[in-house]
Structure formats: C-alpha cells, structure tokens
Subunit: 238 residues, 2 copies
DNA sequence: AAGGTGTAGATGTCTAGACAAATATTGAAC
DNA sequence: GTTCAATATTTGTCTAGACATCTACACCTT
C-alpha cells in the first residue's frame, strides 16, 4: 500500500482546493455540478459530496441548493483589543454595517450570565439578540446581556439604534471598553446556521466578551458567533 | 408542514447533544454504538453517522475507529496578549507541555513570510515546525519562521530546547513580545488532522502571529493551528 | 502469568438508488 | 417586452448494502 494512501474523498477535496488556490476557479465562480465532478473523478456522487463537505467546512466554497457551488470571498478583518468597534471595522473595509433584531427581552439572569455580569442570579437583565450583516451578508449572531438597573428603558432604545456604542453614549452617557474576550471554534448550531445562511456544520468563531464602563462596572456580557470562515479577528498589541 | 421541520440527522444530533449537556453521558463515557443508536432512533446507520459527524465537529464527542464514540473533555485556556506563553498556560492548568519536532529547515523566505518578517524575498529563514502536546495529547501544530541572520545556529538549538522563549533568552539574550495575532476558524487540513489526532474535518483555530524583540525587530512569524474544539483563547485587556 | 492468534465488535469508505426542495431556464400568452 | 407556468437543473436527505480497517476480547499455548 502506498504511504498514507488517503481516502478518495480527501484526495478529491485536496485537488479541488488546489484548483481554487491556483485560481483555476476564482472567487464567485460556479464550480461544475456534483454530477459533472463525480463523472470527472470517476466516483460516486456521495463520495464527491463528502469531498465538497470538507471544502464548504473550510469556507473555501459555498453551496446553495438548486443553484450550485461557488468559490467564496476573502475574510472580513476585525481588530480586537480594548476598543472593539465592529461598525468602524466594517466601514474601514468599505462594508455597510447593518443589524436585524432577533430578540429583545427582559429576563432573569441565569447562573452563567449573573456570574459574568457580577450580579445575583435572577436579577433582571436585558437580553438583546441580533444578526449583524455587512453589505447584506450575515456575519455574526450576538447575544448581549445588560444589567437592567444600569440602563432603564434600554429595550425601547435598542430598536431605534444600530450601534451599541452610540446608543450607550447618547442615552446613558456611557463609554465602554473591552475587558476580556474568550475565543474558541465550534461547529454552528442549526439556528445560527440558518441566521448566518451557512451550511449546518460550518465552523463558528465563538467569542465571549466582557465590557466595562468608566468606573469599571461590568456593563455587558456578550456572546457572539461569527462565521468562522468569513471573519479574521486580529489582536494588535501595543 | 411543521414550522422549520429539521432534517432527521440534525434532530438526532440535537437530542444527543442535549443528552451530553444534561450529563446523561459524561466526559469519558462511551456512547452506544452506531448500530444501537440507529436502531434506537429508527433511522439508517448513514443518517445516524451524519448526526454523529456534527457532534464530532462540535468537539462534543470524539470518534475512534474500532473502539467507539466518547464524550470529550473541557477546553484548555490560553491567554493572549503581549506575552503569550503556552507552556506557562498549560502548567497553570496542571498540564505537562511537550513538543515533537516535525521539521527544522533553512529555507528561502517566500513572499508571505518575507512580508511578515519585513525582510526581502528569498532571504534565508529558519522554519521550525512542531506538534505541541499537553499531557501527551496533541493541541496544536505550529510553523515558526525566524530570520536566519538574527539567530545563527538556531537549527541545532531547536532540537535541544522545549521552549522557544527559553531558547531565545538563553542563547541569544533575546526577549520577545507578541505584536499581533490574527485569528480565524478553519476545517483541519488532512495532515494537521493526522498530527492532532482528530477527525479530518474538525474545526481548527488558526492563529497567525508576529513577535518582536526589545528593539522592535520582527523576530518570528508564526502560524499555529489549534484544535479549535479543545482550546479557548482569552484576551484580557488591561 | 505472558504472549500469540483468531474472532467479534465498532467505525470508515464507497457504491447505489430514490425522492425532496430550491433555483434556473424556457416557452407560451398577453 | 413582460409575466407566468411548466420543466429542467442542481443540491439535500434518507435509505441500503458491501467491504475495509482498526480495536477488544477470548482462548490456547508456552
């Protein structure tokens, strides 16, 4: 047996990946159909789909039912540090930031949220969930938890603003900075995949963050799920 | 049709995920076999495997051919900032850091490496590739590029040390800090999956970093692929 | 008690078919 | 030229079988 003979589906994925890296297929190009590719490689369509599954999980291609398989675009860069400003980062890359509100609710803090916000369990917090888009393309799903007593009337304000920073500054004279960020990678949950319009098992860059105000009070605990393939988070230390 | 009826394989994955979160299965437990589970859910074994594929990509379970499917362990936390010290982070969690050298070579810098190191293309650099382990478990594959002229004899030193920081300090009187880190998520490449002993399509936390010395010279360009499911990178700003 | 071997068990790969669901295309009617 | 319906195209889901490959275990021999 050859040294480390790989399964067919992995070899096919490697060849297609190389084709894309060599610009045989360019960003936006539609790849040949599954039927065409399985004939070209002389394999069963299921084996070819197994290979394509790898490439879509790598974020190299996007697959759309009924339409085809397309080579996907470069990642969006977001600097992380003490001041994380997504809207500014997007604008810096000529992208139009938008959000769609998914949910605004007043809920009692569960143990995890309470711990992160340094409040007692069951104290009311405002949960603000939203889908963030860049030029109409979904890039993240965020859940932010704010202590209700620090921000009276926050729920109604959330619907009128499109920037957390601006809202807090204008309505509560509150500036905030990032105290900490925890990052890991996961496979997307089904509901996130739906919101982010990505395959059910794509990689998610999971960020848990703590923001504090000028007097070092924890004012926001945030959980953001980025399309792991479309985003690049940068930590520039100075 | 029911609102958002999900495919069977996604429903099954959700149920198993919930079982694990509810500690029906605990870390280290072996799950029932594929055959048992497919019978329990009344589906084809391939459909069940599709569900299991999701869970393994989420890092919730690890699958081992011939042995079974096991519930996996908690992530390893590594702080990012100006001083990234993996060995210290592992020791802080009572884990024994080790590495296995994969490759040490003197190579001409390609365009990307040259750009990152701020040297001319084709200038010789030392490439040092290694697999990092914690208590014998692989956690990352790293490629570090060092300008050869700054570190004469680096290749032979690499084989004698098990800490980059210690090597640079003791052999070259060089202290270094992290200038920047870029993070994104990918699906593992086949060779990384092999080294990291993880499934071929697991999520990788990809880190590209620049380290500088006391006089702000770029001394290392590093590309590290972490097991995205086993790691949690934390940015604590101060 | 230790080592070797064969078998059983468990996952992995590949093939194949059928049908569903989403989108694209085409042609007819206005 | 536009609209709409029908059809074709393309990917998604589920089923099914066969065989490969790896590990665990039981049993036999020394």
């Amino acid at each position: 047996m050859h040294q480390d003979a790989l399964p067919l589906y992995i070899q096919i994925a490697a060849e297609l990946r190389q084709n894309i890296q060599d610009a045989v297929f360019k960003i936006g190009d539609r790849l040949p159909t599954e039927t065409e590719l399985s004939e070209r490689f002389g394999v069963n369509r299921h084996t070819l789909r197994q290979a394509m599954r790898i490439l879509r999980q790598e974020g190299i291609v996007g697959v759309e039912r009924g339409r085809g398989t397309f080579v996907t675009a470069a990642p969006i860069v977001v600097p992380l540090g003490t001041r994380v400003r997504y809207n500014e980062a997007l604008k810096a890359q000529s992208l139009q930031p938008q959000w769609e509100v998914l949910q605004i609710a007043s809920i009692p803090a569960d143990a995890k949220v309470a711990q992160q916000l340094q409040i007692a369990t069951d104290v009311p917090v405002v949960l603000f969930e939203r889908l963030s888009l860049a030029d109409g393309v979904p890039i993240s799903v965020s859940s932010s938890y704010f202590p209700s007593d620090l921000f009276p009337g926050l729920r109604s304000h959330c619907e009128q603003y499109h920037s957390i920073s601006k809202l807090l500054r204008e309505q509560y004279d509150c500036d905030h900075i990032r105290q900490s960020t925890r990052l890991s990678a996961r496979v997307a949950r089904p509901q996130d995949a739906r919101h982010l319009r990505m395959p059910a098992t794509s990689p998610i860059l999971l960020s848990e963050s703590i923001n504090i105000n000028q007097t070092d009070e924890v004012i926001e605990y945030g959980v953001t799920r980025f399309r792991g393939d479309r985003m690049e988070l940068v930590i520039a230390n100075s």
